[in-house]
């Protein structure tokens, strides 16, 4: 399977995701943001980091870059798109995913391992997980507080578009297990066609037992099939 990782100035998880993809046997290419064409890919990843310093709004400037038009075209033709952290923020700025990511409710950057629950395994991203499986996964962001309007919130529920929700160690979903104030504890969502996933937690940080754990592995192994 071929993957492309888009690198913006200020991306800083680009190497991490490339290492994870290669470990999972993807044939990966790094694509500099000034490129105007994308190589044929089965998966496009927009990595975490601080594209353009996250100045103005997280993801706002990257959302206006030339390569993004190619990403949008690819998305519309059904290519799989994964946006992690800043990548999720960029996807909402481009409109590929609805909603937005506000500042964390405690107004501070948060880096820690949290628990998330897999809410929908019927997707190309999550099929290798069990329904309601609890994952321990690292978050690192300033703006991870997902928010959307009422109509979209209903759509998310009705169409089962919530991929992950923050929970506690035993799977309870409550305000206590919500690290950043996200609406309905949302940690990741799909678009309607489920070929796009945006998520705040970092699965690429959880593919090496040596460093953390391997709870992120199944996301990539779901994709490789």
């Amino acid at each position: 399977m071929k993957s492309s990782v888009i690198v913006f100035p200020g991306s800083n998880c680009d190497r991490d995701i490339a290492v994870a993809l290669e470990k999972m046997q993807f044939k990966n290419q790094m694509i500099w943001h000034k490129e105007t064409t994308l190589p044929k890919s089965d998966l496009i990843v927009i990595p975490g980091g601080f594209s353009y310093g996250d100045y103005l709004r997280s993801g706002a400037i990257a959302g206006k870059s030339s390569i993004i038009n190619e990403v949008i075209k690819a998305a519309n033709s059904g290519c799989l798109i994964l946006g992690i952290c800043n990548g999720f923020q960029i996807l909402t700025e481009t409109g590929l995913l609805k909603g937005t990511l506000l500042r964390n409710k405690n107004l501070k950057f948060i880096n820690k391992d949290v628990y998330i629950k897999v809410m929908n395994t019927a997707s190309r991203f999550t099929s290798k997980y069990q329904n309601n499986q609890i994952l321990k996964i690292n978050i690192a962001h300033n703006e991870g507080n997902y928010f959307t309007d009422k109509k979209h919130r209903e759509e998310l529920q009705k169409e089962n578009l919530i991929a992950f929700k923050y929970c506690d160690e035993s799977g309870n979903i409550s305000q206590n297990s919500n690290p950043n104030g996200a609406l309905d504890n949302i940690a990741g969502i799909f678009n309607l066609k489920k070929n796009i996933l945006g998520m705040m937690p970092h699965p690429e940080r959880m593919v090496d037992k040596f460093i953390s754990n391997d709870d992120g592995v199944n996301l990539f192994s779901s994709l490789i099939n």
């Binding site: 353009y52 310093g53 100045y55 103005l56 400037i61 206006k64």
Partner: protein, 79 residues
């Protein structure tokens, strides 16, 4: 009485955010763009009928909290 407070970085202080916004707008084709500085905006309402006194209070709020005088300037306007 209601006032707006605009806080901007002092003229000589580097404004990384403004710089990036400026470059991006240029890249989007706004050739006539000269410069962009980013700042903060507050709406402050006080229980005070005398405008002069109110402004003194707001000035104090600015200097005590809203503004970092080392790197920022501010402007108070009645709205």
């Amino acid at each position: 009485m209601k006032f707006s407070v605009t806080v901007t970085l002092k003229k000589d202080v580097l404004d990384p955010q403004g710089k990036v916004v400026q470059t991006t707008l240029k890249n989007l084709g706004f050739a006539e763009l000269r410069s962009v500085r980013q700042g903060k905006f507050f709406e402050v309402e006080v229980d005070e009928l005398d405008q002069r006194k109110a402004e003194i209070k707001i000035k104090e709020m600015c200097e005590k909290l809203l503004v970092n005088l080392i790197i920022e300037d501010y402007k108070i306007v009645k709205i």
